[in-house]
Symmetry: C2
Amino acid sequence: MNVLIVYAHPEPRSLNGALRDFAVEHLEAAGHTVQVTDLYAMNWKAAFDANDVTDRAPDTRFDPSLDSKRAFAAGTQSEDIAREQEKLKWADAVILQFPLWWFSMPAIMKGWFERVYAYGFAYGVGEHSDTHWGDRYGEGLFAGKRAMVVVTTGGWESHYSPRGINGPIDDVLFPIQHGVLYYPGFDVLPPFVIYRTGKMNEARFDETRIALGKRLDELWTTQPIPFRRQNAGDYEIPALTLKDEIVPGKVGFAVHLAHEG
Amino acid sequence: MNVLIVYAHPEPRSLNGALRDFAVEHLEAAGHTVQVTDLYAMNWKAAFDANDVTDRAPDTRFDPSLDSKRAFAAGTQSEDIAREQEKLKWADAVILQFPLWWFSMPAIMKGWFERVYAYGFAYGVGEHSDTHWGDRYGEGLFAGKRAMVVVTTGGWESHYSPRGINGPIDDVLFPIQHGVLYYPGFDVLPPFVIYRTGKMNEARFDETRIALGKRLDELWTTQPIPFRRQNAGDYEIPALTLKDEIVPGKVGFAVHLAHEG
């Protein structure tokens, strides 16, 4: 299978760098083909702006959505954007690997999504009507592909537990796992989280590699997070609220998991 | 009072640009002093990396936290970082204004926090012991300052309602409002959210300006979001889980609001 690792850490001689190298070797040893988008190493342009559309008339007003739509359709996107889109089309699975900085992905990775996730590619796809609100949240161009987050954090596991002060890790990652990955159709696997990186030692590093290797071996068999499909009957359309009879009275991110019913 | 507007939109002739201009005029007319950090206009460097520490020996391993700590303490940070830190110290209130892109702030703004929020400035502040886990979540260098998010989104209000498919807006913004703003001590005001920006017209724009003006007039009197203080007795330390007797059995972001008790 084809695996794309989108990776963001400024220092290759870091825990993240070591785990990235391990993942590449492990996947290749299992017979997979791996490409790595190493955002810092390639000096990825993080900010989405008018320069990302190559055929704009000077001094015209830049509209992030509409210019993205036009450039994607016309093939006038920046070449670096188009190249990353090809990698996404090529991949059977995508691994996002990053340190959790301020409760989200590093800016350079956020900017990869803002630029590569064009209108017509990752959003604005499909019919919008009273029964179908775009091919998204379970449908879309990436349907059938798998995605997994591999994330490191200095905080303790308890700080990210259900009643931990940082919020439950599943909720902290919801805007990424549901909003960025499930939205254009990926099946999203449970994340691989490494806590308390300041206390890493040789023994823990060995355990971590073994655990990550197991998750990579199970990339094609692990049950995805059971996010609810937008257009399969659970939501009112176009309000896109969960129907009253489904987990009645409950609110929050967790209601968008089917097993909560 | 001193107000810092940290603003990210690539097109000044946009809804965001118009609201930013309105906010500056409105605040100045009320006698406040305003500075704007216009991230796209200043071509802000989004990616935090080894170049942000000016006195590093070549080929040494870059540690984002420890290098940030050393550079902040020694005064060897990049000049653009130090300048933004001065603005934060100067401000009595900070307004973050941005379009919601993929359920978070634009990359260029995320990179502003990653670079400006140095170790010793916005995190890693204060004693860490069995009764006090750093000056954070209600304490820290920005205690006594106020912050407010002003955010636009193409989605409908219902899509971000308590049972809306994107998740409740308060939960979508929790990593920013609690994790980025409350963490170093800001009192965080309820956000000002403009939905369905594709359907903006003259009448709605007038209403929006009036509503934003009112929120700006009330910047000093609005009740902040009642996030729980980390070191005030609600949490076990160092596990940093909410004590069993507080909203027993409940989980998720909302338990960190005091009125949930």
